[in-house]
Structure formats: structure tokens, C-alpha cells
């Protein structure tokens, strides 16, 4: 069903690689989506990426369209790395839909684990302050310049400090998965906002 996998070293080859996803039944079994939802998702996916895979550039472009005020490229970069679980540099429809299934229909535990994975930029299993700084800076970049109140230089750092205060239980400067899960589950705000996009589809 899939085209033979081409080594995606050559940029040119990438555009000619055509990838077809596994069958609808399989995807339905693997994810928490219904057939109709998968159909809608695939139509949108195929519209933007006719070749069947999305590379980082396209990903960034798509994401940037939703945030015209600022620069969404850094956050899109981290998102892409989180979606691209196999680190191949391209996201196939299966990866896409698997991640969406977790984000929209997964359990709280799964969602938190996915978010932890997003924050853990170097995928070493721990979040340190630098990684968090990068993430928070990327989020603030999406706001752009024209904000109220005016964005100051150390606003992201303050934000990260607050975050670490909350999350880092044993104050060792890094946040492990367990600390993260525990702290998030204690915070009602976070719990509530995780349910926010339940009915997005």
C-alpha cells in the first residue's frame, strides 16, 4: 500500500515521493477516530500535502498561517519534532493522525506524556531550564511585537521560573516525567484546559 520508501536525502526526491497511508480500517483501529473523521482529516491533509508527507517547511508554513501576528516557526519546529516520532524529517499521515488521536481523544495521561515529549527537545527524558526557555520563547514569539502589555526581555524567563517552581518538586533543576505528571494533575487549571479541545473534530 505504501510506495517503496525512498531515502529522503535529496530535497527533490522528497517532492516526488508519494506516500499512501494504510487502509482506513487499520487507522481506525489504531486511533480513536471514526471513519468519517479520518476521512475529513485525510482530505485536509492531502489538500495541503498532495505527496502524502509533510516536511518541516510545509509544516511551518501551515502553522504560520494561523498566527499572522508573530513568528510561529520555532514552535512549529518543536511541534514537528514531536510529531515526527521516527525522526525521519517528514511526517506521514499515520504519524499525524496518531498524534492527533492522542491530543484530541487520548487520556489525560497520554496527553501529558505527549506534552512532556514536546517540551523535551533533546528527547533525553528530562526537561531542563534551557529547553523550557526555548519552548516558552517560541510561544512568546508567536505573539509578535504589538502586544499589550509590552513584551519585556525577561518575561519568558520569569514565566519559566514560575513553571519550574511549580513543576520541579525536588528542586534539582530538571523536571522528570513523573514530576511533570504529578504537578499537572495537581493543577486544576491545566486539567481543565486539557479537556478544552475535546470536541474539536
Amino acid at each position: 500500500m505504501c510506495c517503496p520508501a525512498h531515502k529522503i536525502e535529496d530535497e527533490l526526491e522528497m517532492t516526488m515521493v508519494c506516500h499512501r497511508p494504510e487502509g482506513l480500517e487499520q487507522l481506525e483501529a489504531q486511533t480513536n477516530f471514526t471513519k468519517r473523521e479520518l476521512q475529513v482529516l485525510y482530505r485536509g491533509f492531502k489538500n495541503e500535502c498532495p505527496s502524502g508527507v509533510v516536511n518541516e517547511e510545509t509544516f511551518k508554513q501551515i502553522y504560520a498561517q494561523f498566527f499572522p501576528h508573530g513568528d510561529a516557526s520555532m514552535y512549529a519546529h518543536y511541534l514537528f519534532n514531536a510529531f515526527d516520532t521516527t525522526q525521519t524529517g517528514s511526517v506521514k499521515f499515520e504519524d499525524f493522525v496518531t498524534a492527533l488521536s492522542i491530543l484530541l481523544r487520548g487520556t489525560v495521561h497520554e496527553k501529558l506524556r505527549w506534552t512532556f515529549n514536546l517540551y523535551d527537545i533533546n528527547k533525553d527524558g528530562y526537561i531542563n531550564k534551557e529547553e523550557m526557555m526555548d519552548i516558552v520563547k517560541a510561544i512568546y514569539d508567536m505573539m509578535g511585537k504589538y502586544t499589550y502589555p509590552v513584551l519585556k526581555e525577561d518575561t519568558p524567563r520569569q514565566h519559566v521560573d514560575v513553571f519550574f517552581q511549580k513543576m520541579d518538586k525536588n528542586k534539582d533543576g530538571i523536571v522528570t516525567l513523573d514530576e511533570f505528571l504529578e504537578s499537572c494533575q495537581e493543577d486544576d487549571n491545566i486539567m481543565r484546559s486539557l479537556q478544552l479541545f475535546q470536541n474539536v473534530m
Binding site: 468519517r36 475529513v40 482529516l41 482530505r43 485536509g44 491533509f45 489538500n47 495541503e48 501551515i62 502553522y63 498561517q65 494561523f66 498566527f67 499572522p68 501576528h69 514552535y75 518543536y78 511541534l79 514531536a82 498524534a99 492527533l100 491530543l103 484530541l104 496527553k111 506534552t115 514536546l118 517540551y119 519552548i135 516558552v136 510561544i139 512568546y140 508567536m142 505573539m143 509578535g144 504589538y146 502586544t147 499589550y148 502589555p149 509590552v150 513584551l151 518575561t155 514565566h159 514560575v162 513553571f163 517552581q165 511549580k166 513543576m167 511533570f180 499537572c184 487549571n189 491545566i190 481543565r192 484546559s193 486539557l194 479537556q195 478544552l196 479541545f197 470536541n199 474539536v200 473534530m201
Partner: protein
Amino acid sequence: MAAGVAAWLPFARAAAIGWMPVANCPMPLAPADKNKRQDELIVLNVSGRRFQTWRTTLERYPDTLLGSTEKEFFFNEDTKEYFFDRDPEVFRCVLNFYRTGKLHYPRYECISAYDDELAFYGILPEIIGDCCYEEYKDRKRENAERLMDDNDSENNQESMPSLSFRQTMWRAFENPHTSTLALVFYYVTGFFIAVSVITNVVETVPCGTVPGSKELPCGERYSVAFFCLDTACVMIFTVEYLLRLFAAPSRYRFIRSVMSIIDVVAIMPYYIGLVMTDNEDVSGAFVTLRVFRVFRIFKFSRHSQGLRILGYTLKSCASELGFLLFSLTMAIIIFATVMFYAEKGSSASKFTSIPASFWYTIVTMTTLGYGDMVPKTIAGKIFGSICSLSGVLVIALPVPVIVSNFSRIYHQNQRADKRRAQKKARLARIRVAKTGSSNAYLHSKRNGLLNEALELTGTPEEEHTGKATSLIESQHHHLLHCLEKTTNHEFIDEQMFEQNCMESSMQNYPSTRSPSLSSQSGLTTTCCSRRSKKTTHLPNSNLPATRLRSMQELSTIHIQGSEQPSLTTSRSSLNLKADDGLRPNCKTSQITTAIISIPTPPALTPEGESRPPPASPGPNTNIPSIASNVVKVSAL
């Protein structure tokens, strides 16, 4: 936001999960999808040709005919399809616009028919994609010119009283066909230019001998006659120049134009001659000045379109001509040097210096071969033959290239100018689209996106403020709103930003503009908890009144009872304490809140917390009923 990526909005919203643990404030509620129904196929019957598409595809553009409820007027109950009695060919393009987000203009289509169809479907032609936009604009311009020509020929009989005398004169000068007088003027000037040129030429012809002296040119024999002719011509030219100067819409630009310079150069020698006839020494120079009279011939370019085109093409071909000249010069210098040194030995050689050899080289290379200078030595002859052979190459080769360059460059220039003019417009359009998208969010904040609030209070009202926002748009705005909450900063537009900057620098405002943010106890206890969960239910919108917000530590809440179900609320950067208690039944009142800054913590956090998050709380029962007069609540 392009419609094409609307399908990716669920992904963008899902990705927002990454902000949640970082955010300190609670997120606003998502807009509910009240019209949640399964996506269905719609059949569109356009003059018998059936098109089918998903309903959501059409709903991407809610302010067009197909995207709004206007299409219900065309719904045919019997056949359960939408019937349009319009052109199916153009409809193909229209439907593709919904599908791909790009509107194309088919070249075979008539421009006015296309425009009519677009107007019918409520689509603005400005969104035509870049690939087809130039073609569309060109056709449109041609059409407009055609219409203008038609109008002009209609109006030709009637005089245009609206045009001033000056404007009429300018029009007459530029376009001699507008009136008979202009035509007469045109021919008269043409005649006099010809007369002037001919007299200049004939002046120098030897006219037979006056007895007793040598042969004289006609100019000196009949000097009076020629002088009168010359005077007459110059009079006419001067009058013409002055009239044009008077009639020109922009005198400065007219003076700088090429034609006016030619005019001046044509008549100046005469006046200079008048002034200088007394002085004998300068009369030599005066004679030289007469040469410039030949420039009168260029005045013909006003009468000939072809001359103008040629001049323009030469100008645009200047670089090619320059290159030809340069390579020729190189070759001439090389060969002249060689010939000079080759002929140095020979006696009585005409090649006295290198510049003297230039003449030989040029004559030989252009294969003229006058024969006034010929090499005598063997070496000279050898090099001379090489020179003439290479001359053929050097001259003959570039000339056809240049000639073909003429037409290529001429056409290319025209196209390049067009493209350059359109590029600015294109960039401007892209910029406008981008700011439009970001402004849409700010705009809706200002008007108060009340989908959530109204739904929460269970209002069955369908009509909100202003224009209908599609579900996609409201979801997108909700996403942006979440981002604002994550970072505790708001989006504002450029002017307000600058205003705020100016105000803050002027007033030297301490950083306690948002005291909550800078309080020592950390962010968690400040803005968000104070802001209370209630604000999750209050859509955030910026009122223009936020301009006041910076300086004043006042919170004023105007509550007006009104019939309108629309609500405009403005968000505060700080807590809306009193607002909570006074949030009325949204259907009957209009709240405009101004600034807030509350030093005292409110007493209602527990109330907020007790509310289950996604559930839509009913209207607060302890809200005092709002009279229909303005209640001003001031909290300090």
C-alpha cells in the same frame, strides 16, 4: 487565513496543548459547534450541469452567496438541489475557488461576463490569484479603455464645460483629433517645421553668381528673404512653445520633458543671434549655433508616432549599443596601434600618429575603403587585411543581434514596466491580506465575539453584532485567545501599541501598569487567580476605551439597558471584580467596561472555582436586575 488550511485548524488547536502546562491562566472556553452535523454533499445545478461539493467547502467563505444562507433562495424543493440559472463555465472557476482558495481567470472568458458572474456570487475580483491577476487586470484595462473611447466618441459633439480653457488647450495639443482647431494647429506647425528645415538646407545651395563676385550660397544672396522666413518660423515656434507651456498641467514637468528641450534648442539660436549680431568676434560662434537649427527636425516626432517609438527603443537599447561601441573602440585602438608601428618605417606614410591611424582603421573595418590612406609596407598590408577581415566580423555580427534586441527589448520593457507596476500592487495586496487576517481577530475582539457568552446564557439569538463569523473563524479566534492567555499578553494593533509606548515613556509610568504581574508573590497568585475563572466566560474584546487604561486606576463600568441583544464587553488587563456581580442577562443589556485596576482581591474566587469548567453556567442569579438606565459603578 487561507481557506485551504482551514482543514488544518483542528491540528492547530490540538497543538495548543503544548501551551497548557505553561500557561498560568485558565483558558477561555471553546466555541461550541452548534450546527454540528455530518458533512453532507450539496448538489448545485447550474443551467443543467450538476456540481457537487461538501457543505463545509462552501461554508469556508460565509460572505459570499454560496457560503451564506442566500443560497437557500435558490433551493429547489422538488429536486432537493440548488439551481442557478447562470453560466456553468464560470461557475467551474467559482467552485474551484471554494475548493482551493484560489480564484482563477480563464483566458477565453469575456471580462465583463466574468465580472458579472463574480458579482452575482458575491466574490470580489481582488482575490484573483497571482497567476491570473495580470491577465485579468490587462483585460479589464482594455475594456475600460474601450468603454472610455465609446464615451468619448459620444461626448465628442458636446463640449465639455467642465474642462477649463487651459485643459481644453492641453487636450488639443496632445490629441489633434479632438477638434478642428487642434487639427489646423497641428498641420500648420508641421508645415512650418518643414519650411524651416527646407530653408536651412536651401540656404547653403550655391545660387548662381552675382556679377562681380564668386558664387554665393542662396542664403547670402537672398539673405533678407531667408531671414524673414526664419523669423516667421521662429515666431510660430515660440508662440507654440509658450502656448504649450501655458496649457501644461504641470509646468515643471513639461519644462523637463524631452520635447520641450528640443523646442527650446530649436529656437534659441535665433534669439542668441539677434542679441549677438553686433559683436564681430562672437559671430563665429553664432554661425556654429545655426547648426542647432537642424534640431527642428526632431519636432516632427510630435507628429509621428513611429519616431517616438524609435527614440524610446534606442534609449532602452542603450546598453547594447554601448557594448558595440566599446568593442569597436577596442578593436580600432588595437589595429590602429599595430598599423602605425607597421607603417612607421615607410617613408611619406600617411600614418603619422596613432590617432591618424584611427581613420584608416574605421574606414577599413566598416569595409568602406576610401583609399585615402593605404599601407605601403608588407607588414602593413598584412595587418591591414587582417583588420578588414575582422572588421566584417566585429561589425556584422553584433548588428543583427542589436536589431533583434530592439524588438525583444522593446517588448520586454513594456512587459517589465507592467510587471513592476503590478508588483507593488501585488505586494500591497499580500500585505493587506496578512494584516487583514490579524486585524480580523482584533476587530472581533473589539466588537465582542459573543458566541460563547450568548451560548452560555442559553440565548437562542442567532444574530450577533456585526457580520456573521463562521465557525472556523470563531475557532481560530479562540485559538489566538488561548495564546493570549498563555502568555498573559494581548494582541493589539500597531497604532495602539505606539500609543502605549508613547504614553509609557511620557508619563514614566512605573511598571505597575499591571500590578498583578509584577507583584512579588509570583504570577500565579496575581493576574489569573484574581482574574477569576469568571473571565473564562467573558469573551475578551478590546474597547477603544482601552486607550484610557494605561494611566488611570479607575474602574468604571457602564451598564446600559438596551433592547439590543448585542453585547460589547471589553476586557481588562486586571481583574473585573465588580463586573462579575453585575454581569447581566446578556440579552437585555449592553456592557461596556473600561479600565480596571483593583488593589483588593475580590471575594468571588470560590464562586468561580465552583463552576464546572466546560459546562455552560446559567446566568448568575444574584445579578441585580438592570434597569434601563445607565448605572455607573465605580470601584476603586
